[in-house]
């Protein structure tokens, strides 16, 4: 910026700000949005809405499971609730939230004016509301108006033959997944094109923030696996409507083949939802520890090796389908290998905190909470890799506890941390720190009350995806439900805070740097940043980057 001011003069810059071609009018600004910040905002708002829609379904699920016996919903509706909850949270909340963060932050972090392909960016967002309307339609029509046979009820994994027993919701779900896939692929292409082509001079690949690295690798994962998902669901569609027998044994097909193809997508998908979280946390911890990230290169290589390994572990979701011994051994060993790069990441965050000088603002609380609770999910993941033990864990609440630990106090906590971390940058206003801390502590207490007892339930023998259970499971289910209600209500605090800052425009003015320990190009821009992030490429001084010294 110093360079820009010197060459163009402060007056010119001021004039430029007034002629930034910011579109006027609601439709012009949002429907035809091409600006990376506007699109980032759209993604984040969409994700927040879906988080609450998917969350309210979870509240109904936990209310039904509050005590033994069926009190609220019929079993067939219960199955729709679990299926829709998963699809909404995965494709509607977590993934769009991270894409929103990428849209906002990647151009600012690499010194670019905007994303490389702004019009495609517009499409990749606006496909989503259409896709989710399609996905929700059968479910909502049935539930609210009694029309049709209801939404998909075969689980988000859509295993045939069960998923094909649904009515025409099969077609709705599959077309919705196709659209989400197209959206994700376009978003990923855009992110890759931006990172590879639009870095400011001097922003070498190995000087990029870890968040940018994590998204570059995630985008390649998306491009690799979304077409696989599209292929597998297309075969479901033709099996149902066009008489093919890809997955129908009676016609020469194989129902297990679907599971292989699905999980070839599904396991990388797990990392699509967690690698950007690793990136976020790797930005936040050094900032509030006032110490550079420990082992920057190791962190980048760890993300890359996790991404590679994610392609060769898929059958660990299928140990009980009857895989030959050699196959089970291979997938067990490959899965266990993932513990090594993941362990490196956790140790490196811990070493970053060692001999640092920490303060505990809300983003830091969520980031530390992420590391600690994600690690619990990592441990149970390692346990699940052990095949003979997995024969007991598979399809029980132990698995439910495992993936919710990596997704809720994992991915979702990282998204919360990112929001608190960057909200002052985005809006120019500080959120309410006291409420933020309340939000963190309430969420942490309740999320553990919600998911920790589910380990016990699974170990004691409670299968997942059941609407009712034997009375011996009653105690921990009640704990879990109380945790769920508490966690759900705590999120209203978050929504209120975001509303307070963004809409009611409350909060102290934020400086450009916002945080005492902030490093990186995004913090050299004003808060809120100019409409076009870096109209002139910044001149990069190693000291303003978090990883300016590449000897590390």
């Amino acid at each position: 910026m110093a360079h820009a001011i010197a060459s163009t003069g402060a007056g010119d810059l001021h004039a430029a700000a007034e002629h930034d071609h910011k579109p006027q009018g609601f439709v012009q600004r949002w429907l035809f949005a091409t600006n990376h910040k506007d699109i980032g905002t759209l993604y984040l708002v969409f994700a927040l809405v879906m988080f609450f829609v998917g969350g309210s379904l979870a509240m109904v699920i936990r209310a039904e499971l509050f005590q033994p016996g069926l009190q609220i919903v019929h079993p067939e509706v219960f199955n729709q609730l679990t299926t829709m909850h998963a699809l909404l949270m995965i494709f509607g909340a977590v993934m769009p939230a991270f894409v929103g963060l990428a849209n906002w932050m990647v151009p600012m972090m690499i010194g670019a004016p905007d994303m490389a392909l702004p019009r495609m960016n517009n499409w990749s967002f606006w496909i989503l509301p259409a896709a989710f309307t399609l996905l929700l339609a059968p479910f909502v029509l049935f539930l609210l108006f009694g029309i049709g046979g209801g939404g998909p009820a075969g689980g988000w994994t859509l295993y045939p033959p069960l998923s094909l027993q649904g009515g025409d919701n099969v077609a709705f779900t599959i077309f919705a997944i196709h659209m989400m896939g197209i959206s994700s692929i376009m978003g990923a292409i855009n992110i890759i094109a931006t990172i590879l082509n639009m870095r400011a001079p001097g922003m070498d690949m190995l000087k990029m923030p870890v968040f940018v690295w994590s998204w570059l690798i995630t985008a390649f994962l998306l491009i690799a696996v979304m077409p696989v998902l599209a292929g597998s669901v297309t075969m479901l569609l033709t099996d149902k409507y066009f008489g093919t027998s890809f997955f129908n044994a009676a016609g020469g097909g194989d129902p297990v083949m679907f599971q292989h193809i699905f999980w070839f997508f599904g396991h990388p998908e797990v990392y699509i939802m967690i690698l950007p979280a690793f990136g976020v946390v790797s930005e936040i911890i050094p900032t509030f520890a006032r110490k550079p990230l420990f082992g920057y290169r190791a962190m980048v290589y760890a993300i890359a090796s996790i991404a590679f390994l994610s392609f060769i572990v898929w059958a660990h979701h299928m140990f009980t389908v009857g895989i030959p011994l050699g196959g089970e051994l291979f997938f067990m060993y490959a899965t266990m290998l993932i513990a090594i790069p993941t362990g490196i990441k956790v140790f490196n965050w811990a070493f970053t905190m060692w001999q640092s000088s920490m303060t505990f603002e809300t983003p830091m609380l969520f980031a530390i909470g992420f590391v600690m609770m994600f690690t619990i999910g990592g441990f149970s993941g390692l346990m699940l890799a052990i095949v003979p033990a997995d024969f007991q864990y598979q399809d029980t609440y132990f698995v439910v506890a495992h993936f919710h630990y990596v997704l809720v106090p994992g991915a979702v906590f990282a998204i919360m941390a990112a929001t608190y971390f960057w909200l002052p940058k985005w809006t120019g206003r500080m959120y309410n720190e006291t409420l933020g801390k309340w939000h963190f502590w309430l969420s942490t207490v309740f999320v553990n009350l919600l998911f920790f007892p589910q380990h016990f339930l699974g170990l004691a023998g409670m299968p997942r995806r059941i609407p009712d259970y034997n009375i011996v499971f009653a105690d921990f289910n009640m704990w879990s439900s109380i945790g769920a209600f508490g966690f759900g209500l705590s999120q209203l605090l978050f929504a209120w805070m975001v509303f307070d800052v963004c809409v009611r425009k409350h909060g102290a003015k934020a400086s450009a740097g916002v945080w005492e320990g902030s490093h990186g190009l995004e913090w050299t821009l004003s808060s809120p940043p100019p409409y076009h992030s870096f109209a002139v490429p910044p001149v990069i001084d190693g000291r303003m980057l978090a990883h300016g010294d590449i000897s590390h």
Partner: protein
Amino acid sequence: MTATRLRLLRLIAVPVALVGSLAVSADPPVRWQLNMTEGASQASQSAHDLHMMTFLLCCAIGVIVYGMMFFSVWKFRKSKGAVPAKWSHNNMAEAVLTVVPALILMAMAWPATKVMLAAADTANSAMTIKITGYQWKWRYEYVGTPVSFFSSLKRDSAEARRLGSGIDPYAIDNYLLDVDHPLVLPADTKVRFVLTAEDVIHSWWVPELGWKQDAIPGIINDNWTRVSKPGIYRGQCAELCGKDHGFMPIVVEVKSQAEYAQWFADQQAAATPPAAVAAAAVAAAETTDLAAPAASQLN
């Protein structure tokens, strides 16, 4: 699990497992059960031992990682005047943190591999049961004999579990975990199972036998068990199979070999039409031979 290392680990595991095992004085599942059952078979014992080994290793790693982080949070605070160090990498530490976890993983993989190799052997079974999953019940066929029957949720549970039934689940014995016709097996006998399904995928799971195996239409899977202690072992379908997935339990009743032979003879008599009794006498003798007494010859 035969490895001495595992025995040692089991010793360490005792205090941790205490709560769990105390609770498991009755047949699992029991109220407040915290841990995986050790079960009634070799497979369930191995699963439990591997589970405890991995769990305890994770606990040990957790003590180090969490200890380090909690110590940092307590000690390295700006409010306490902590000054940040400048270092940001250490090749030695990074190498150690790669190699040591790799060694720990190998220590985990080795006993697991041995268990898997031993469990893969379904040969030399004394009898075979064919299990077929249906929406929403199980069918058991004693292969090579006329004995076969369906097994579905017991009536009292089935009535109580209806939405708004007004029946208290606490008033029902073994709510949702009882069936009309349990699968009956002889004790101390290697029993082979072949599993398939008629409509959608199901999964047959009795925790005390130590495994679940998917029952898939068009595909035949197999597995085996040998239970020495007579008793009643309960489980449930573990793969989502439609609206009544939660309502297709499994009950296995293991009888002593003498009692089993008696039970089997009764079943066979009932399964044979009276008109054909004489004709079937020979076959009955053969099949009894195959299914029950043969069991005792097998170690």
